[in-house]
Amino acid sequence: MASATVTEEAPVSPTASKPSGKRGLDRRPGLSRKLPYLLLAPAVLLELLIHIVPMLVGIWMSFVKLTRAFIANWAAAPSAGLNNYRVAVDFDGAVGQGLLKSFGVTIAFSLITLALAWGLGMAAAVALQPPFRGRSVVRTLFLVPYALPAYAGILTWNFMLQRDTGAVNHILVENLGLSTDRPFWLIGGNALVSLITVAVWKLWPFAFLTLMAGLQSIPRDIYEAAAVDGAGTVRQWRNITLPALRPVNLVLVLVLFLWTFSDFNTPYVLFGTAQPPAGDLITFHIYNASFLTWNFGSGAAMSVLLLIFLMIVTGAYLIITGRRSRRA
């Protein structure tokens, strides 16, 4: 990082008047003051158009009675005050009850999925750490679920989870004899188990990929030294691997949680438009609540509540783990 001397010798900036801590390209006067903004302009414009402005509109929507009648002329929708929010958090009413239940299902879904995806990823990353014949083949195979388009993988699971024609019941009932009747997997109480299985199948390779990359950065001789000192496999993992992976894990756990909590594809492709109550994930719940009742103001209010929840979780997590941002 000590490039100050090089900078001093650079003859390209004849008017290098600011002897600040800036280096290299940053020291060129005139053009370079505007240049970063020019470079950022396309990204900023698109982020505004697709993310920021829609979010602001979404917040506005949550305060109006935006029903089907006002879709064509949505600016004319009458104000609803805080009513959309009041209905959403009225846990005695039908809307609030549905939202609360879906929230509970989603919490359970994302925590279990996160734990399983991380656990499998870690188990595989540790198993694949020392070289062996066929390692790269196994590694490639493990990444396939992540590489497949979401709908292709989930549609296959949908087929496998069919009660009468699916592979899962065939294995459980015919091959293993674990059950005499054929359970339903896509409706009823098992829906959450199905959701978690599919989500873990799709997501664990990402944890594996990230943890494997993290493991590569741990010097091998630390393990050798520990082995000489008599530390067993489990102790090496606890005292060397886990602490060394801490920075990786902090990011990974947060990302996995945010992804699973906001998962829409899995319930949408797995269940179609009629989600079973046991698998009623919150994003899908909001989508259905908005489009089935055509009350977009109410859906928007639920979305804002969801966003506030995610921001609180993220903020708390970042404060607890002491990592505000990559370059704060």
Binding site: A10, L40, P42, A147, P149
Partner: protein, 279 residues
């Protein structure tokens, strides 16, 4: 920990269990795509009773799969090219310049990553309708609307990853380029970009996969003419029949481009993740 007997047993167990978990759906996908319709409508069998390639030819007729394929390709390639180009410029600015608003930019862009899509689905739809009404530029139900939407989906992660990658390239190289008479943009294209090639490949794959696999916006923002594969594959379920063998054949075929691309460039992807996401 390394090559002791206990570890070998552990490894064998982990690889077997996870191998089966990963392979089962892939096996079902491939074998079911080779079954006649009567096979997939009856009880599951491990092996086709009548090995047939018909699903692979029939699937193009049951639904206009070729059209969906073309739509997905156009949308994904365009979104990838634009996203990578825009991310390169933004990441270069973030990595090489200290300017006012830099932290605000990185924080805002990164935090958009955590917003669930449903949150801005409807507002975006309404904004697109308004743009069309006021400028005549058709965004809903066209490929352009999807391209613009998708390229922003991968943008935050791409900028973050590339900025991390650019950071790892010594600034002395920029200096050398400046000495040789390049401007800042010249330094980007002649020095930084070639050195960051694995990172660029990684974000390109990521962008393509994001666009190729997107479901929610595709189902709301498309009409029959510009429908993409993610929505098109659902059309194999009709009132009377679900053509599971053709669905599996189609799923297999649409997966091939992304899986091959991903696996070929897997090392770059891992390297890019390490540079951008892990450090």
């Amino acid at each position: 920990m390394r090559d002791t007997g206990g570890f070998k047993v552990y490894r064998a167990v982990v690889l077997t269990v996870l191998g089966l978990f990963v392979l089962l759906p892939l096996y079902v996908m491939v074998t079911s795509s080779l079954k006649p319709l009567s096979d997939v409508q009856g009880a599951f069998t491990w092996w086709p009773s009548n090995l047939t390639l018909d699903p692979f030819t029939d699937m193009w007729k049951t639904v206009p799969l070729a059209r969906y394929f073309v739509n997905s390709t156009i949308v994904s390639v365009a979104a990838t090219v634009c996203s990578v180009a825009i991310a390169i410029l933004a990441a270069f600015a973030v990595s090489r310049f200290r300017f006012r608003g830099r932290t605000v930019f990185t924080t805002t862009v990164l935090s958009t990553q955590m917003f669930p899509g449903v949150l801005f689905l409807l507002p975006l739809f309404l904004i697109f309708v308004n743009i069309t009404n006021s400028t005549g530029l058709q965004l809903v139900g066209t490929r352009l609307g999807l391209i613009i939407t998708y390229l922003t989906f991968s943008l935050p992660f791409s900028i973050w990853m590339l900025a991390g990658y650019f950071d790892s390239i010594p600034r002395e190289l920029d200096e050398a380029a400046l000495v040789d008479g390049c401007g800042p943009i010249g330094a980007l294209f002649r020095v930084v970009l070639p050195a960051a090639r694995p990172g660029v490949i990684a974000v390109a794959i990521y962008s393509f996969m994001t666009a190729w696999g997107e479901v929610l916006f595709a189902s709301v923002m498309t009409t029959e003419a510009n429908r993409t594969l993610s929505v098109g594959l659902r059309q194999y379920s009709t009132q009377t029949n679900i053509y599971w063998n053709q669905i599996m054949a189609a799923a297999l075929v649409v997966s091939i481009p992304v899986v091959i691309g991903f696996l070929l460039a897997q090392r770059h992807f891992v390297a890019g993740m390490t540079a951008g996401a892990v450090k």
